[in-house]
Symmetry: C2
Subunit: 349 residues, 2 copies
Amino acid sequence: MPETTRRADRLTGNRYGNRPTMKDVAARAGVGLKTVSRVVNGEPGVTPDTERRVREAIDALGFRRNDSARVLRKGRTASIGLILEDLADPFYGPLSRAVEEVARAHGALLINGSSAEDPEREQELALALCARRVDGLVVIPAGDDHRYLEPEMRAGVATVFVDRPAGRIDADVVLSDNYGGARDGVAHLIAHGHRRIGFIGDMPRIHTAAERLRGYRAAMEDAGITVAERWMSLGATDPERVRRAAEEMLAGPDPVTAVFAGNNRVTVTVVRVLAERSRRVALVGFDDFELADLLQPGVTVVAQDSAALGRTAAERLFRQLDGTLIAPERIELPTRLITRGSGELPPAD
Amino acid sequence: MPETTRRADRLTGNRYGNRPTMKDVAARAGVGLKTVSRVVNGEPGVTPDTERRVREAIDALGFRRNDSARVLRKGRTASIGLILEDLADPFYGPLSRAVEEVARAHGALLINGSSAEDPEREQELALALCARRVDGLVVIPAGDDHRYLEPEMRAGVATVFVDRPAGRIDADVVLSDNYGGARDGVAHLIAHGHRRIGFIGDMPRIHTAAERLRGYRAAMEDAGITVAERWMSLGATDPERVRRAAEEMLAGPDPVTAVFAGNNRVTVTVVRVLAERSRRVALVGFDDFELADLLQPGVTVVAQDSAALGRTAAERLFRQLDGTLIAPERIELPTRLITRGSGELPPAD
């Protein structure tokens, strides 16, 4: 496979320099290679003092045990990893496919995994992929502290965050304009006469959820509307929680006349709740989704370009690997309001 | 990590025995370990004759170069790989998530990749995951010849095929009853008075597409209906191709009065085509899909249990790894007809 060999060789050099070897560890610790190998592989025959010196050298250099398999890289296929937060969320379908297409165009394989929105799982998976010698990682982060990736990045693993920013490290990130998109969507409802507008979103610790809530608040404030606490509900996006939240806002003497749904998982549940009711309630959802145009009324959405997020992130990753990028950047992609009927309904009262 | 270490150790033993080591190769070739290492790593200093003997031993034993990294397995996290055929097909969302949940319950990480319906890509990805030391593979096959996996399986990689059978090897496979499900769906249309029923499916080389076509033919034959060639269209499931196929069947002097859609990608396009027409055409789709019940009319489907396919396959994989399975089996899961309106419309003429 001369083609893939060339690719793998080329991918080795980049802005972060080469990975440290066992030889580097041995030199720094002032011991022989065999001693480092014993410590790394947990074999006996090393004094506690020597082991301590070796471990200090390992930490200082950011050496990882699997680098002793360095020789195996020769001839192996280049690969990049993608860490999603939910394998079953259709939003990530076009994003994953776009990352895969860019990887393929660069002769690299894509390997995916899911954090299932669990920061520990994200870390475990990211490090497992690094240990399996991926050349780069595209991460949709679940956690908010990514310092665990710094040794990998120093050791040459290209890294781009997408959909949500990295936490406590300086890294490339590709985002949608979550704040601006939500603000536009809510302003659209206000322009159609609504004042009591509900917001149902994901857990507030998630960057996108917090940004979209901020956009909602800004649009309301711009219109001089004081937001009631009971109009806002943030939490898990499972159908039971979202249904309860929607039903509460739609009940009582002063129900909301419109709902802004914080993501596609929320929107499909709100569509169901509204379909069961006779009173018409306006709806704008963040994220487009399949068949939104065929529902009655069609669902007005603030669409992110999921494929463009994936493509932009992956292209940036390969530019890191090519050594043509210097400083990490934050790239924000615009959203687009698509009107289909549900967001243009007037207030029922 | 004593927990994951135990798991990794336990995963090493299974029905296919342990992977051969460089030592085994050296013994069989009658050479020293260093000589094998030189051949494996492409280093100089080996005579052509010795190299040939080593390569023969490697082939005979099914040894893979990356096994020289064997020592690295100590303490590493157990992992399994899942090969999908399309990252953006929502059918695979619940399947992937179910495989992930089973993996997690067994303390293993799940790593995914997509073949993009390309047999070469499938092979490349499967072997790349094996080289990255996955303990097992769940494969939704794109190709029809999986002999390339035999050395891996002999070397101890647990393997289960799902959604479509393995080709030319004896392996565990978990399928839906594609034939029976399609036959029931078409019989349902016949029971509602239809005789001119179209079938739009995926490429005929795909097992599920061929089986569903067989079910369609069986139902028609059972009812004594002679199928016209122009009622059947198999090919890519992109919207353009499906739209053209549907429009052709719906045109002319004797148009079909009902359509059986061969999978969820086909169904959503047919729904669009029918929504544009005034004449009502009945529709039953293979695969359930999100919001099918909220369309007007609701879409009647033959539902596969995508999560059960994934769960069953993954559980079987771990039973292979536990050494509690002996012979490969073919497991078929039933489908379920869900009536929602579109499949119960009478013929328009």
